[in-house]
């Protein structure tokens, strides 16, 4: 789905921190949305977390840097990191170039599937409202 010029695939879940989640069984793959990467501009460094680490929904667990801005990434689901995209350490711009594919960040073994209820779908009116209100607030578009 395209909302105000930004791509949001229909099969993904989204949170208010501009991350996406692709759910397969109890494994959640997390990345940054097209909206987030465009706001952040060119990413120059991603601190890739180690596998095995436990993360908590809504809490920061990794950082990245773009244009002297250090941003934190909040976990989209609680659980243990099964795999991290180590390619990002060498090619951080994958986050910009391929936010929904090669730019994925981590795969988390979700410990509580109920948490998905806290997330949104691109087709949810609440999600479109969130993006539009963010754009209005920040005078984008």
């Amino acid at each position: 789905m395209n909302i105000s010029g930004y791509e949001f695939p229909d099969d993904l879940y989204y949170d208010k921190n501009h991350s996406w989640a692709r759910v397969s069984g109890n494994v959640v793959t997390q990345g940054f949305t097209d909206f987030a990467q465009k706001l952040a501009k060119e990413i120059v460094y991603v601190e890739v977390p180690r596998a095995g680490r436990t993360v908590e929904q809504g809490k920061p667990f990794m950082s990245l840097e773009s244009g002297k801005w250090v941003g934190r990434v909040m976990a989209i689901a609680t659980g243990k990191i099964a795999k991290a995209n180590e390619e990002l350490e060498f090619s951080p711009t994958l986050l910009n170039e391929s936010p929904y594919d090669k730019g994925w960040m981590v795969q988390v073994e979700m410990s509580d599937a109920d948490e998905l209820k806290n997330l949104m779908r691109a087709s949810d009116p609440a999600f479109a409202d969130l993006i539009k209100s963010e754009m209005a607030k920040y005078k984008l578009g």
């Binding site: 601190e47 002297k68 801005w69 250090v70």
Partner: protein
């Protein structure tokens, strides 16, 4: 009606506190906290590194220790910098929704009052996206930003004066030629209020102008205030945390090849082993062109002035293989250069190695 912005003018505080204070306000920020601007400077000089940098790779730690220069890691991005009393840091700690989310727009907003302050002083500064302030192509301070807890932080400085010599000295570099080139480049491509005006303006006068410009840019009143007890407690805790080896020496993977002088200028060095000996190329690259270059190493080249002729000829050349080779070939033929084991191709390769690291 927009809420007021709290101003905390701390004047001078110990080096570590000049960094921890804005981290503390950011992490203490809750829905009831005001947006805040801190003005502060350090009582003593120190070296500050970016969040994702690795201290030992960027800073001459031994030199800093020997000269009593504390080293502090900040949670803001960017590179290592030498700081002292000649700068006033302006640290904005705002609620996320109170600043533009787009990084370019956020820096533009932060830089606006800074540029206008310089204008009011008669300094023709301009915003050089994404986060520099320039005066006639010379940088007069940079900015940095970070997301900390619920806050967005933007920091920068009013550059009253700057110690170019120590800035070049504290960096870890691959050769003294590189250090010389950095020093020379800082002198050529950075400036300060003192250099522009011929005297150092009064701090209070400059700060007063800056705050007026901030109020206008933000469309909000700026009201003097103090840190809360909770914020101060957190600052004390961060003072201790930032002083630990674990914090200072943590591994960081941000590779900054060469030294960025400003958005358009970078100093780079490359070494290439040729059959005729090692060729070291130390260069300043400006907007993709060689601005200045020094050739050194243990190779033999005749006539004696040949390396100098090549250096001169390469100035202004686009850092592209065909252009570099053509210029080198021109000099080789016109001066009849003899350089056993260092062919034109080898020399071109040595120069082009700069681009391998020029990212």
């Amino acid at each position: 009606m927009p809420s007021d912005v709290r101003l905390i003018d701390l004047k001078l505080v110990p080096p570590i506190r000049s960094q921890t204070i804005y981290h503390a306000l950011a992490y203490a920020l809750d829905p009831s906290s005001p947006d805040t601007i801190i003005l502060v400077g350090p009582t003593d000089p120190y070296v500050c590194i970016g969040f994702h940098q690795e201290l030992e790779k960027e800073v001459d730690v031994e030199y800093c220790r020997a000269h009593g220069l504390p080293m502090v890691r900040r949670e803001v991005g960017g590179g290592a910098v030498y700081l002292d009393q000649n700068q006033v840091f302006m640290q904005w700690i705002f609620h996320r929704g109170a600043l533009p989310a787009d990084l370019g727009e956020r820096f533009a907003l932060y830089v606006k009052p800074l540029v206008e302050t310089y204008h009011a002083l008669g300094i023709p500064a301009n915003y050089r996206p994404i986060n520099d302030v320039h005066v006639r192509g010379k940088k007069i301070g940079g900015t940095g930003a970070a997301q900390m807890g619920e806050a967005e932080v933007v920091v920068g400085s009013l550059m009253f004066d700057f110690n170019f010599d120590l800035m070049a000295r504290i960096l870890k570099v691959s050769s003294e030629k590189m250090r010389d080139k950095i020093f020379q480049s800082l002198n050529e491509y950075m400036t300060t209020m003192t250099r522009e005006l011929g005297h150092t303006p009064d701090r209070d006068t400059v700060v007063k102008i800056y705050l007026e410009k901030c109020a206008a840019a933000l469309g909000r009143d700026i009201v003097p205030g103090e840190p809360t007890a909770k914020e101060l407690q957190l600052a004390e805790r961060l003072d201790r945390q930032f002083a630990t080896d674990e914090w200072l020496h943590q591994k960081g993977g941000l590779r900054q090849v060469g030294v960025k002088i400003h958005e358009d200028v970078r100093v780079l060095e490359a070494a290439h082993k040729t059959p005729g000996g090692l060729v070291r190329v130390t260069a300043r690259v400006r907007e993709g062109r060689i601005d200045d270059v020094t050739l050194s190493g243990d190779f033999t080249m005749l006539p004696k002035f040949a390396p100098g002729a090549l250096e001169l000829a390469l100035r202004g050349t686009a850092l592209e293989e065909s252009a570099v080779h053509a210029r080198i070939a021109e000099v080789y033929h016109s001066v009849s250069i003899q350089s056993p084991g260092v062919t034109m191709e080898e020399l071109t390769k040595a120069v082009m190695l700069l681009t391998a690291s020029n990212q």
